[in-house]
């Protein structure tokens, strides 16, 4: 039997019993559609979860904090540190620590990050802003590889680079309820006032104003840099000394945080482990991302499993239909054999029909599953509250391989479930098949 004749006969046979074929295919349609929909949902959830996470963007980064070797002390790092504040047993981050970490293999950058020890307000005219001030010991923050919205990455004393979100958060302290928020000023290149505030022991408030020029604005990235204002560390140290009324010695007081960069994302975990062994706390976004990924892989497997179960039910349906069809068509099989069909011909015909049912069901399932996931996205973007940071509202995500995989899978389900009935049909003794009532 030629392949083309086989194909024609299979298509004819499927066409001759449209109703039956469609009814069986519906089972496969449901199974395939649910596989696609559920896996798309799992992938979509994973995507929006990862994209909404803070600071996840840089996989080469290791954040290092002081370590607590014994008797962990609950304290807010970065706010209470200062002269005489270092609790016993705390392993502080000193300039020596920087040298030690730099000596680790694969480390390309170690730089301190320091917060401000008091209140600081950024003022543009009568508008105010409370950025998260971070002092960095860098001439150029380009090493962080933050995408820029405008300006430069080089940083000098008297200058600042602010996050994209900060640039949008100027507010009018005298704004009355119901009034529209003020138009955001274009602060790039502007010199703004930074008002530092401290209180004396008697509770008297003292202000100090410094001029600061905004030389760069980072792009919004749904990451921690969005709310940051970077200034030079030596300048910040001076402000902090004014706030505390005493000199700061990092060899004794330690930094809040060190930012370490690995040459390669794969080394980040290794470096973090080495730093932890030195007695500090080190964390990478690697572990977070890996945790999230493995969670969503579990989710995908569970969802895919649910879909696969419905496909399995569909497979039993196909097997049942094929078995019934073969019983019904026993005389036809006898006839095929009487007119010269070989066992292989009969097997191919029935397997082909089963595969065809699987394929047709698969096509229907892909259309419904894909369409359904697009529809879900439309519903989600219409009715779900939008993320305040402009995060993605995607509800589902269907990678191109999924429909293809589902189609192949559905066809395979057809073939496998048709295998036993087809084999039985193929090996019938012609005369017995012909006598079947």
């Amino acid at each position: 039997m030629r392949f083309i004749d086989l194909l024609r006969l299979i298509l004819d046979n499927l066409g001759r019993r449209k109703g039956r074929v469609m009814l069986t295919a519906i089972g496969v349609v449901i199974g395939t559609a649910s596989v696609i929909l559920l896996i798309s949902l799992a992938i979509g959830l994973q995507k929006s979860a990862t994209s909404n996470l803070w600071g996840i963007s840089d996989l080469r980064r290791v954040d290092v904090y002081p370590g607590y070797s014994e008797a962990p002390v609950m304290m807010e790092v970065g706010r209470s540190s200062g002269k005489g504040d270092v609790p016993p047993g705390m392993k502080i981050l000193t300039p020596q620590t920087i040298e030690d970490i730099k000596a680790l293999p694969g480390v390309t950058l170690v730089t301190p990050k320091q917060g401000i020890y008091g209140q600081a307000v950024l003022k543009s005219g009568r508008l105010e802003n409370y950025p998260w001030i971070q002092g960095v010991d860098l001439d150029d923050i380009g090493v962080f590889e933050y995408p820029m919205q405008g300006g430069v990455t080089t940083l000098e004393r008297g200058q600042a680079i602010i996050g994209g979100w900060v640039a949008q958060q100027f507010y009018d302290p005298k704004q009355r309820p119901g009034q529209d928020p003020p138009a955001q000023p274009d602060v790039l290149g502007q010199t703004l006032r930074l008002v530092l505030t401290k209180w004396t022991q008697d509770g008297v408030m003292i202000n100090k104003t410094v001029n600061i020029k905004i030389v760069g604005i980072m792009s919004q990235a749904q990451a921690e840099q969005d709310s940051v204002m970077f200034v030079r560390l030596d300048e910040l140290t001076a402000w902090n000394e004014w706030m505390m009324g005493s000199r700061i010695n990092y060899n004794r007081d330690g930094y809040n945080q060190l930012v370490v960069r690995a040459e390669d994302p794969d080394q980040a975990t290794e470096i973090a482990d080495a730093i932890t062994n030195m007695g500090y706390q080190a964390s990478t976004s690697q572990s977070v991302v890996q945790g999230i990924n493995s969670f969503f892989i579990v989710l995908q497997v569970v969802f895919g499993g649910i879909g696969a179960i419905s496909l399995l039910v569909a497979a039993i349906g196909i097997a049942n239909t094929m078995a019934m069809a073969i019983l019904e068509r026993t005389r036809e099989i006898g006839l095929m054999k009487a007119v010269g069909a070989t066992n292989k011909d009969v097997l191919s015909i029935f397997l082909g029909e089963a595969a065809g049912i699987g394929f047709i069901g698969g096509i229907g399932g892909v259309i419904i599953g894909w369409g359904g996931s697009l529809l879900l996205n439309m519903v989600a973007s219409t009715f779900m509250p939008s993320n305040p940071y402009g995060g993605t509202q995607l509800a589902t995500s269907t990678p191109g391989w999924l429909p293809l995989f589902a189609l192949v899978f559905a066809t395979l389900v057809g073939i496998i479930s048709g295998l036993y009935p087809s084999l039985r049909a193929a090996t019938l003794v012609p005369v017995n098949a012909l006598k079947y009532e």
Binding site: D5, L9, G334, K337, A338, V339, G340, K344, N432
Partner: protein, 247 residues
């Protein structure tokens, strides 16, 4: 005289639990090319079994069938399928048409397994329908045809691969007297066209068209005299309770 089909000590035994049925109990038979053989015998005498074995639809328990020099028992499944496809056209009592195909499709059905083109199949089906006088019914489904017409379609189908042997198992069994006679005439035409025809039948009219008649009784070939004796005995036995008349 050349022998076309040579049958030697052919046996077919069915074992059903403890009882064994010897459907064929040692058949020796020679069939010459171009002959028209009518096989007669009471119900259960093994007529259909013999026809199925000659047609390669089943395998004997023992014995041999040699067709045109080729022993069927030596053939594997594929060779047997090829033998059925090329050498044999089968006609059944119950027509065995595919209900969802029209007459032309039914006639062309065997060609689907025989490496022929679509067009060849269509023209050949139409030719054959014409030959059995049904070219105007080509698009009718079997249910839209009379029994006689259905059997004509089946005969056309049996001819489609140009077989040398035509095997018919009670081809007139489901038909009224008139259409049955038409089928006999058609088989006779095929015989005259050179096919070797073997027909199993209960209809004595078939004998007028035949060149040879064999009588089967309990799986054995018997003489006409033995056959007559047995069938009158059968008749007397069955009519005993129903009627007191002697025929």
């Amino acid at each position: 005289m050349t022998i076309f089909i040579q049958i030697r000590d052919l046996r077919k035994t069915y074992v059903m639990g403890k009882s064994t049925v010897h459907a064929l109990d040692g058949i020796d038979l020679d069939i010459i090319p171009g002959s028209f053989t009518v096989v007669m015998g009471p119900s259960g005498s093994g007529k259909s079994t013999l026809l199925h074995l000659i047609g390669g639809l089943d395998r004997p328990t023992s014995g041999s069938i040699v067709v045109d020099g080729e022993p069927l028992e030596k053939m594997d499944e594929n060779q047997l399928a090829e033998y059925r496809r090329k050498m044999v056209g089968f006609i059944f009592q119950s027509f065995n048409l595919v209900a969802t195909m029209n007459a032309a499709e039914n006639v062309g059905f065997p060609m689907r397994f025989a490496r022929t083109t679509n067009r060849e199949r269509r023209t050949r089906s139409m030719e054959l329908l014409k030959r059995v006088g049904l070219d105007d019914r080509a698009l009718h489904k079997p249910t839209e045809l009379s029994g006689g017409q259905q059997q004509r379609v089946a005969i056309a189908r049996s001819l489609v691969n140009q077989p040398k042997i035509i095997l018919a198992d009670e081809p007139t069994g489901n038909l009224d007297t008139a259409s049955g006679y038409g089928i006999m005439q058609l088989l006779s035409v095929l015989h005259k066209a050179g096919h070797t025809v073997i027909v199993v039948t209960h209809d004595p009219r078939m004998q007028h068209f035949s060149t040879h008649i064999i009588y089967l009784l309990d799986g054995r070939i018997v003489s006409e005299a033995e056959y007559q004796a047995a069938s009158t005995f059968d008749f007397a036995e069955t009519s005993e309770g129903e009627t007191t008349h002697e025929s």
